[in-house]
Symmetry: C2
Subunit: 194 residues, 2 copies
């Protein structure tokens, strides 16, 4: 089992380098996953995140109804899946997850989808201040209540992409389905990369 | 002159891939620059950004007083500068910018520092909704009112790192002064990288 719990005070590290994420949602028997490039940490401990979710999306409808979401970090091996869930809407296709090849399991605290093959998972609860910014700016603020990462690429409290196959690197969306992978390590002087 | 104006409806592209940024501020004859990893686009057109700025920082004091900030994207060649302005506070060192080797010019619309050698610059005005989230979450929401990028790495509305020297790639902070550079391109099927 490659997914190992991440201590909550280290969960902000999962998004610190700015990867594109998959946002999972579930409510009333429906579940969805979409891609979101506009996501970032918001606090260290307790860990919080901020993510922009357009109010036209099914994901937003489900998050608004449930007050919970998941945030998964996809990797290079999942770039086609990430494009697919970013291009197709769950509104038009109730079977979107199956169509896009998204295997997932429900998060234990929220029931939101945790995507198999992703290199990190977080479950999150929407914070009260979201009420002020979700309307005008589609901005969702949430506390991270559980976190896991793949031990092959996240260890000792940080990403270790340089010690794993390149297809396990995270993704950074530029535009129109064009991504960059996370690249070469730049360690502080006098410190080895690993 | 490598810095060329970026059309405002393309300015969100400068941060879409999640780079670490330099936040510039100026008020009452004082100016500062700090590093911030928690920054993302918030809207396309007019372009907006969200950035977390701790209320203990001089940067925050200057932004709260002036209502404006700059957001610059540093590159691999500036990793030491980025670490330096991230580690040292302008409160203890009024000459911080000189100490950290930050050459800069004032932005034409805001007076905030635009850092020489950075690969993108934006000038921003704080948005009203910041009043609700700056207190509890140190979150600053701002509209981008001007944008430039280095034509050697940003062209035709998107980053083109694969066509330039590696030291011009952007940075992604992991923790403790450890960064990853932006990495290899992953183009949609049937589309060349450039």
């Amino acid at each position: 089992m490659p997914m190992q719990p991440v201590p909550l005070d280290k969960a902000s590290r999962l998004l610190n380098h700015g990867p594109t994420v998959l946002v999972g949602s579930a409510h009333g028997g429906r579940a969805n996953v979409m891609a979101a490039a506009w996501a970032m940490p918001l606090d260290f401990d307790p860990p919080k995140v901020a993510v922009v979710i357009d109010k036209a999306t099914l994901t937003r409808e489900l998050i608004d109804a449930s007050g919970v979401l998941s945030v998964c970090v996809p990797c290079v091996a999942q770039v086609d899946l990430t494009r697919a869930v970013g291009n197709e809407t769950g509104r038009d296709h109730p079977d979107k997850l199956q169509r896009c090849g998204v295997a997932h399991e429900p998060g234990p605290l929220t029931g939101c989808p945790l995507v198999q093959g992703a290199i990190a998972w977080m479950e999150c609860r929407v914070l009260p201040a979201t009420a002020y910014v979700a309307g005008p700016h589609d901005l969702i603020l949430a506390e991270v209540v559980s976190a896991w990462a793949d031990k092959r690429v996240f260890a000792r409290g940080r990403w270790q992409f340089e010690n794993a196959p390149d297809e396990m690197r995270s993704l950074h969306h530029v535009a129109g389905g064009f991504f960059y992978a996370t690249g070469e390590p730049l360690a502080p002087r006098g410190e080895a990369s690993s």
